[in-house]
Assembly symmetry: C2
Homo-oligomer: 79 residues x 2
């Protein structure tokens, strides 16, 4: 068994209304100094040792992310 | 300027319907060996150097996460 983290973030050129909303709200709540916020997704997967990196990349690209508008990265982490 | 990553994940004892849906769909799409999926959020913040770790923790806990149902972590990353 291994733990895998897949991070999915909107591409830099894509508008990110959720992130913009957070960035706009922070000063109103008294937090200054945050100049940009981007919001994405984080998936934590428990996978059998039989699942190789190529399969994980396929899962991330074809299923967890929309590669037209999102960048993704896959990494194995210590459990 | 520094880049900060805030990871927000549902607590282990909280049901995660999005993650469950992903885990249930993967075998139907031909991907076996993934035993569990949890879906959370990832925020990337650009912050001034004046923003200290205590402020970042407050932002994460009070604003980016719902600490009743979510765990969160803050880390500074290389730009």
């Amino acid at each position: 068994m291994a733990r895998v983290v897949v991070d999915v973030m909107p591409k830099p050129e894509i508008l990110d209304p959720q992130g913009k909303a957070v960035a706009g709200a922070l000063p109103r709540l008294g937090f200054t100094g945050v100049t940009e916020v981007r919001q994405g997704k984080r998936f934590e997967l428990e996978v059998d040792d039989s699942v190789d990196d190529a399969t994980l990349a396929k899962i991330a690209e074809s299923f967890l992310a929309n590669p037209v508008i999102e960048d993704w990265s896959v990494r194995r982490v210590e459990p």
